[in-house]
Symmetry: C2
């Protein structure tokens, strides 16, 4: 059931022990949201704990390091389970076994939210779950401490690619301004999130750029990242993130394709397109889906075949346009 933000705030206010869930492969938004809510709820006198299928990545540990014990012990019996930035129950991975059907509240900004929680507040106009939480803090009458501001700013800046993506609105900037005024060190956060590249990320980019292939007069570009490369360069998930943005960044490219070899030998395909090409329409050819600008699919065929099939589908799409 859809609820208002005021009702969502009531649910938190009336709870005594809250369990907060982040999605698997956690990013800055789901973790920033969890860090901010852990702090705000504790300040309101609640017991608040946190759960996620995967470990907190090194890059985001600063959001939690002063929070003491955040994981629930066996005896912890929450009277409110809240999902943050989670569009579908499958996105909590293995945790779904334990929590499916038990999630009381979901606060999210994905238009495709499946409303798996008993009550949901979903605002697709928000660039980040953390943008919604900036508003929730006011409704909760929770003080936005520098630590909360840091957490919420982290979510906003990471989900907008540092205010670059098209999801960024005037409200997003207003929320960012407020968080800076409350003590978020925007320069430092952005430096950590966007400026530093590891040597393995650098090497990965170098090799990837060398291998970039073009087709259809430079309107299609494709890169491949295989496991050998990842292992040889010691690239982490952090290093891999964002690489799929590279092909589309080249001038004139309408379809940017990234193939990444998975552990089982299949290929995870990321499609990033520029208007008028719709990435999800190309992904759909291979049983995948997504948005107009970004979509994906999985191919369980040998690499050369996969590349040919993707090139062919993209070329056919461009041909149909002209």
């Amino acid at each position: 059931m859809d609820i208002t933000l005021a009702t969502a705030a009531e649910r938190f206010k009336n709870a005594r022990r809250v369990l907060l869930l982040s999605h698997s492969f956690p990013d800055g938004d789901t973790l920033g949201a969890a860090s901010a809510m852990l702090r705000a709820l504790r300040a309101l006198g609640k017991e608040a704990k946190f759960c996620c299928e995967h470990e907190i990545p090194e890059k985001f540990k600063y959001l939690f390091e002063d929070l003491g014990q955040i994981y629930p012990c066996r005896e912890f019996a929450p009277d409110l389970i809240a999902a943050l930035d989670i569009a579908d129950i499958t996105l909590i991975g293995a945790l779904a076994q334990e929590y499916e059907g038990r999630i009381d509240l979901c606060i999210d900004h994905h238009a495709a939210n499946r409303k798996f929680a008993k009550e949901s507040f979903v605002d697709p106009s928000a660039a980040a779950a953390c943008e919604i939480l900036c508003r929730l803090m006011a409704v909760l009458e929770a003080e936005i401490t520098p630590e909360i501001a840091t957490a919420l700013f982290t979510g906003i800046t990471t989900d907008t690619g540092c205010f670059r993506y098209r999801n960024t609105t005037a409200d997003t900037h207003r929320a960012a301004a407020e968080m800076i005024a409350c003590g978020a060190d925007a320069g430092e956060i952005n430096y950590r999130m966007f400026e530093i590249k590891t040597r393995s990320r650098l090497d990965l980019e170098k090799e990837t750029l060398e291998r970039m292939e073009f087709s259809a007069d430079g309107r299609i570009s494709m890169i491949t990242i295989d496991r050998e490369m990842v292992l040889r360069l010691g690239a982490t998930q952090d290093d891999l993130d964002g690489i799929s943005a590279l092909p589309r960044q080249i001038e004139g490219v309408l379809v940017g394709i990234t193939l990444r070899e998975k552990e089982d030998g299949s290929y995870k395909v990321s499609l990033r397109t520029n208007a008028p090409v719709k990435a999800n329409e190309i992904a759909a050819v291979f049983g995948g889906g997504g948005h107009a600008g970004a979509a994906g699919c999985t191919l369980e065929i040998p690499l050369q075949e996969a590349k040919r099939a993707l090139m062919k589908a993209s070329e056919a799409y461009l041909e149909a346009l002209s």
Copy 2:
């Protein structure tokens, strides 16, 4: 003489024919400021013209294309000459011959502004001259049209590296929010400014990364861009801009050095450092200067000697730190 923003607004209001100056090698801030002021002044019934030593780069032409004739004809006799985003008279290059001593008003955000104009409004807390102009529009009671909002947003986003640099404040985000609310298409502007890479920029990055050299256990990194490379790859000034950010982006790097060969065979050196290293202190060794994080100098010695000298000075600096 320093004046208030209200006095600056008075000067514009009392003028009938205004000439606006942008600095040489014009960037998004000086051009966004000029575009916005041309529009605002014309809407207020003034005749407004524009002058810059260099042509408007392709990338920024959208700021002016609907403005008709912007350059002054011989007969144009301005009763107010205003410099926008210009810290020193030398920064208008060859135009200084004509305008030195004649500039009535300067609106700028550089702390190092030399107060070369008869009257100056300089606010170093502003991330961009365009951030100041957002405020000036209100004082002028000028309507912020979508075109003015686009111009001012362009200046703000380019001068902050899309809100990433440490000069970005809560006020910067507030100004951005206002410009979006007034009709700036932030997504489109940021896409044009930051997302698209030309093929020659891509090739330049690829070659530059291959040639990157490290020293002092990876705390110093250095890249060299020679004229042969630039000519062979057909790289433009636009392509070259931002390349000097690359060396410092690598994890662990404290001193990032970029040498760019100039037409006369000398080398323009960009130093980008992370705390606690102060770029201007290293640049000073070679008669250069700048800020703590970014500084520069020029070396008129052969490349290998220049590289050795820069490495040596940087290593000595790091040694003195430890």
